[in-house]
């Protein structure tokens, strides 16, 4: 009896774990509950009327981008360039780019 491992079987031995990793990732995403603290954060947002995430706390217009006024990035003088690198990572809020509104 020929006991040599066939090359196609070897390929399946390599492919099966790779596929298992993919299926594992997808299954993990499907069965995972919300990350800890999500219910708590929703409650805090509703109770305190929070409007923004505390991702960038270095300037008022990066801490609360949704509440920034039109001149936020030029707060020191009209031609002032942006101080903070976050400005390169976040655009002005869409509603500030619309032509209407006060």
């Amino acid at each position: 009896m020929n006991r040599t491992l066939r090359k196609s079987t070897l390929a399946m031995w390599i492919l099966a774990p790779a596929l298992a990793i993919l299926v594992g990732a997808v299954t993990d995403a499907l069965i995972s509950d919300a990350a800890p603290g999500e219910a708590e954060m929703r409650a805090e947002v509703a109770a305190w009327g929070l409007t923004d995430l505390a991702l960038f706390t270095e300037a008022r217009y990066t801490r609360h981008p949704s509440q920034a006024d039109r001149h936020a990035a030029f707060q020191d003088h009209p031609g002032a360039l942006e101080h903070f690198p976050s400005g390169a990572l976040m655009p002005p809020p869409p509603h500030l780019r619309e032509p209407t509104g006060p």
Partner: protein, 376 residues
């Protein structure tokens, strides 16, 4: 010979062929996996944080009304509360008290709030876990800050907000409304802005329009605009990261194109011999399809799986630098694992299909030429 057995023999031959050039094929698999990993990480991270922002900010005020003065956000007179309350369709109006405080001791900015409910008792403060971390504070400690009158204001830390909610509260300081006014020197008849809730959610835009007409010095910010802001912030961020990664992706494409299209003399001879011993053109193509498929599908599975681990279980350390910005207070947070069928399909189509197809073209060319001329 049935179809399955035939494919299996083809696969046997393909693997044997791959194993004849182990270094080259393993390095290709490694680079391919890395490219899929980076692309998938960016897509998963961006998708997850957009989902998180949308889920968390669903409870944000339906409309926030800010007063503007000379193009800047100005304080809101309390009289506006009553004027807005009379507006048809408005269910409730609340004055919000919040502001920023720069703490020179740790060079960090805090968001100071005095919520109408669930805030803090007079003389007490509830602080976010980020502030507690940088200032080394715990419940019961005294937190002293220099107020806008130049005098020190001391508050007893009633509680540190849960570390699991840092994404919204890392830099928050909750104090009583009277303490807030004393700390910032605000008069009793002003608020930072107003939060409105409307009777019928379908009428939010009409209410906002009426409000802008009635109070021309104010601007309404709708909850949908807040949510759109975050959608746009992270679309932008995803675009930036993808633009940075584009160099790596193009380098890989050149590498893969070169590998896939430039058949070596040895490979051409191999195809010629196969054709000479009776393989059909279709068999040669199937064999190469297996080769391309094996490498690209394995790389896709490994790359996606590793990206999932990186983003959802390792805290996405590769993006920490991008997230950090210049802020001293950085929130610690976990993202909820999620999968998007469209995203997964897009990544599959972008990573597996092009490589597999591109391997076929030169092979088809070589396999359709007379074997004799190839072997010479």
């Amino acid at each position: 010979m049935n179809g399955f057995a035939r494919q299996r023999y083809l696969l046997d031959f393909t693997v044997a062929s791959l194993m004849r050039r182990p270094g080259r094929n393993l390095s290709l698999l490694l680079v391919y996996t890395l490219v899929v990993f980076l692309l998938a990480s960016v897509m998963l991270y961006s998708q997850a944080i957009k989902g998180k922002a949308a889920a968390l900010l669903q409870g944000a005020p339906e409309i926030v009304v800010q007063r503007m003065e000379a193009g800047r956000h100005a304080l809101m007179p309390a009289a506006y509360l009553e004027r807005l309350g009379r507006l048809r369709g408005v269910a409730e109006v609340q004055g919000r008290l919040w502001g920023y405080y720069y703490d020179p001791a740790v060079a960090a900015n805090y968001t100071v709030m005095a919520p109408a409910r669930d805030g803090a008792a007079p003389g007490q403060v509830r602080i976010g876990a980020g502030i507690a971390r940088v200032r080394g504070l715990a419940a019961g400690d005294v937190f002293s800050l220099r107020g806008y009158d130049g005098q020190p204001h001391a508050y007893t830390v009633a509680a540190v907000l849960p570390a699991t909610s840092e994404l919204v509260s890392a830099d928050l300081m909750l104090i009583a409304p009277a303490d807030f006014r004393a700390f910032f020197g605000l008069a009793d008849d002003v608020y930072t802005d107003l939060a409105l809730s409307v009777t019928n959610p379908a009428e939010v835009r009409q209410v906002a329009r009426k409000l802008a007409e009635r109070l021309p010095d104010c601007r309404p910010i709708l909850r949908e605009e807040v949510l759109r802001t975050y959608e746009s912030v992270f679309d932008w961020r995803e675009g930036m990261l993808l633009a940075v990664l584009a160099g790596a992706v193009f380098a890989f494409l050149i590498f893969a194109w070169d590998k896939a299209t430039g058949l070596s003399a040895e490979e051409r001879r191999e195809i010629g011999i196969l054709r000479a011993i009776g393989w059909e053109t279709g068999d040669v193509l199937r064999m190469k399809l297996w080769e391309g498929g094996l490498i690209s599908f394995t790389a896709f599975c490994l790359g996606y799986g590793l990206a999932h681990l990186h983003v959802f279980h390792a805290g996405a350390p590769l993006f920490a630098g991008v997230m950090r910005g210049w802020s001293v207070l950085q929130p610690h947070f976990a993202l909820t694992p999620q999968v998007d069928a469209l995203q997964l399909t897009t990544l599959f189509l972008l990573s597996v299909v092009p490589y597999t197809v591109v391997t076929l073209v030169p092979v088809w060319r070589a396999a359709t030429v007379d074997p004799d001329s190839i072997m010479r």
